[in-house]
Amino acid sequence: MEDNEILQVWKNYDRKLEENLLLSRQNATAITALKVQSFLASMKPLKIFTIVAGVLWVGLLDVLIVSLFHIASPFFLVSAILLTILNKLAIGIYLYQLILLHQADITEPVLATQEKIARLKSSTLWVARLLFLQLPLWTTFYWNKSMLENGSMSLFITQALVTGVFIFIAVWLFINISYRNRNKKWFGFIFNGKEWSPLMKSMEVLSQLEEYKK
C-alpha cells in the first residue's frame, strides 16, 4: 500500500468519525464539576506519606543510636547506623520522585514529560535495591559481647552462615535488580504482580526515549 493510500484510509476514518462521534455535553459538564486532582498530583500524597513515615522511622533509629551510644553493643550501633543510612538514601529517592512530580507537566512536549514520569517510576527499583541491601543488618544487630564470649562454635558457625548468605543475597540483588534482567525468572518472581507492571512499562518507555536521543 502506498503512502497516499494509507493517508486516504485515515482521511476516510476521520470523515466517518466526524459524522458519527458524539460528545455528551451532560457527561462532559459533569466532568468539569468534579473535584479531582491531575493524575500526577494524585501520586503525591503516597510519596509524602512514605517520606513522613520514613523520616519518623529514621528519626527513631537516630534517637536510639544517640541515646544508647555509650551502652549499646557495637553490633547494634553499626547495624543501626548502616540501617539509618540506607533508609535516608531511600527517603532521598522519594524526595527526588516528588521533585520530578512537581516538574512534570502534561501540557509540555511529550518526550520531556514522559522522561520525567518514566524516571520517577523506574527510580522505585532503586528503593527495592536499597531495601534488599538492609537484609544482613537484621541478622547482626542483636549480637553482644556476652554472646561473643559465651557462645558455642555451632552458634558462631550458624550465625556466620546466615549473615553470609544474607550478605550474598543482598549484594547480588543490589547489583542485579535492573531493567536488563527483567526477563529473568528470579526477577519475575520478585517483581511479580500487577503493582509492578507500571514500573516495567515505564522502564520500557525510558529505553525507547533513550533511542530517540541517539
Binding site: I6, I106, I117, K201
Partner: protein
C-alpha cells in the same frame, strides 16, 4: 496568555476537537472498556489544564500534548483515578450506533492494528503524520527536532508498508 476556565468554552473546544481525543485513545487501548476509561481520563486532564492553556500554541497542539501524555502514561492508571473516590461519568465521547453503523473497512482495521503494534512514541508520530500535521508542529508536540521526526516518519511508513504487503500476499 491564558483562557478563562469556563466550562462552556471548554465544552465548545472539546466538541470541535473531539476526534483528537477519540483517535489518540483508540490508538493506545486494546479494548473498548479501556478506551472509555482513557477518554474520560484525557477529558479530566484537559479540563484541569484548561485554565493554563497557553495561546502561543494552537488548541490542537495543546490537546495532542495532553492526550498523548495521558495515553502513554495510562498504564499507571492504578496510581491515579482508582485512588480517587469519585467515579467518572462513562460514555462522554461515543460513536453513534457503535458496532453497527460504524463499519470499518478492512484496510482501516489493519492500519489501526499496525499502529497499535508500534512502540508508544512511534505511535504518536504516525498519528500526527496521518493527521497531516506539519513536521514543525509534530516536533513542537513531541519535543523532537524536525530532522528526527522526518527520519522516524520515513521508518514507520516503511514498517507500515511492509506489514500491509505481508497481508496482501
Amino acid at each position: 496568555m491564558q483562557l478563562k476556565k469556563d466550562a462552556q468554552v471548554f465544552l465548545s473546544v472539546m466538541e470541535s476537537n473531539k476526534g483528537i481525543i477519540y483517535k489518540v485513545a483508540n490508538a493506545y487501548c486494546k479494548n473498548d472498556e479501556n478506551r472509555k476509561d482513557l477518554i474520560q481520563e484525557i477529558l479530566v486532564q484537559l479540563w484541569l489544564s484548561f485554565g493554563k492553556y497557553d495561546k502561543q500554541y494552537s488548541i490542537s497542539t495543546w490537546m495532542y500534548r495532553i492526550a498523548l501524555n495521558v495515553a502513554i502514561s495510562f498504564y499507571r492508571k492504578e496510581n491515579s483515578r482508582n485512588k480517587i473516590n469519585q467515579p467518572l461519568p462513562v460514555d462522554t465521547l461515543f460513536l453513534r450506533e457503535e458496532g453497527n453503523g460504524f463499519q470499518k473497512e478492512a484496510d482501516l482495521q489493519h492500519l489501526q492494528q499496525f499502529i497499535k503494534e508500534l512502540k508508544e512514541i512511534d505511535r504518536a508520530i504516525i498519528i500526527l503524520y496521518l493527521e497531516e500535521k506539519p513536521q514543525q508542529e509534530i516536533a513542537t508536540i513531541l519535543g523532537l527536532s524536525t530532522t528526527n521526526i522526518a527520519t522516524r516518519v520515513l521508518r514507520i511508513k516503511q514498517q507500515l508498508k511492509q506489514k500491509f504487503s505481508t497481508i496482501k500476499n
